[in-house]
Symmetry: C2
């Protein structure tokens, strides 16, 4: 019962010890496929074929499905199966609503944030700019999301981080409905750069105000785009 100072160090490594169930790994895999668009919104995932493809039993697969349904990446219709989520207009609006709350609040309190978190914001913007010069538009979108994730991370809250990660994964579902990734992502590079510079300069209130206006414009534009792309 002695106090072991090194024990805490080891405890941190415990997570790497491969201690994850197959259900979780299946969920990780499916989540990735939904995010990168290999599984398009609306696709039905039957237990039988998915189970055969991944070589796991139906029960294990169902556990994985439950996780992703809870993350809103899949929807579960009783006795009908699970489908990759199709976002409605209201969903996209709502995603922006909650992101606005979290990000603006986080930026407004960014004065307390450690330097590393501020640097991460700048880094995400830089990464987006580089991807843009190389015309990798999907990567620009990814970098843009990392930017917003970094903004929320300024709050220094694990739960905020996880909430943001899930929201952004959900937002990917909207992107997959739209073609023209360049028109979709490029316009945001400049405002992102401005906001990042304001934060780096310590002018967090100005940054928050700028972000507020940014959201008004971005939300309106994306919703309009999403609506116009909607088929049926």
């Amino acid at each position: 019962m002695t106090a072991d100072p090194w024990a805490d160090l080891l405890a941190a490594d415990r997570s790497l010890l491969d201690r994850t169930s197959t259900a979780e790994r299946v969920a990780d895999l499916l989540r990735q496929r939904v995010i990168d668009g290999a599984l398009a919104p609306g696709t039905r995932l039957s237990e039988e074929s998915a189970g055969r493809a991944l070589a796991v039993s139906r029960n294990t697969l169902r556990e994985a499905f439950r996780l992703l349904v809870h993350e809103r990446l899949l929807v579960h219709e009783f006795h009908r199966g699970v489908f990759v989520r199709v976002l409605s207009d209201e969903d996209v609006i709502d995603l922006y609503r909650i992101r606005r709350l979290l990000e603006i609040s986080a930026v407004r309190r960014a004065g307390r944030a450690p330097a590393g978190l501020v640097a991460a914001v700048d880094q995400a913007v830089t990464e987006g700019e580089r991807a843009a010069t190389e015309e990798r538009w999907w990567d620009v979108g990814t970098a843009n999301m990392r930017f917003h994730e970094a903004l929320a991370a300024l709050a220094g809250s694990p739960r905020v981080n996880e909430t943001m990660r899930r929201l952004l994964a959900e937002l990917r579902l909207a992107f997959h409905r739209m073609s023209r990734p360049r028109e979709l992502h490029e316009p945001y590079l400049k405002p992102h750069r401005e906001i990042s510079n304001l934060i780096s300069a310590g002018r967090v209130q100005d940054a928050a105000d700028r972000l507020e206006g940014y959201f008004d414009a971005a939300e309106a534009q994306l919703v309009a785009a999403y609506r116009s792309y909607t088929p049926e």
Copy 2:
């Protein structure tokens, strides 16, 4: 394929049509028991005994467990079982951090909120005051939570509502570690009343500022209390 105005009304009732799996109902039940404290933090829920008690198979039970683990009410240790979550000090601090973000932002934008949502805030406070005069201290705590839920609801976002509901359920885990429900909940009645009145009066900025100060005090106090109650 005609436009049916009444079809939407019916569609809303579809959810009442009992179309829920047993796993979900088991999860609902367990969630309730965790929230009301019948299952104390740290309790181990073995698959065998829980399954026998609820008369469901292990597979179904495991699906329910997955849901509650995802909601952070249970923790799952590989090959060891599931336990009712024990919140750490950091968890309590983090819960307050994210609540602060959501609630303050929601209040700050409460000008756009419909009157019904504002009324709900007042109603929650009134309910708490009544419970206090009747010395039902646990109910005072419940009403206090409903107050905070109503504040977040001012944002008018389904996702914010759900996030708050989960966060408050998680916070219940902290309360169960503490005795003295009166000392825990009573002090907040007065500030809640003040904030509610400010919002009703349309002075949302003042309310947000007041809430900010409230959080500083409440968080410090609860964390101190939680720490002192912590056994082992």
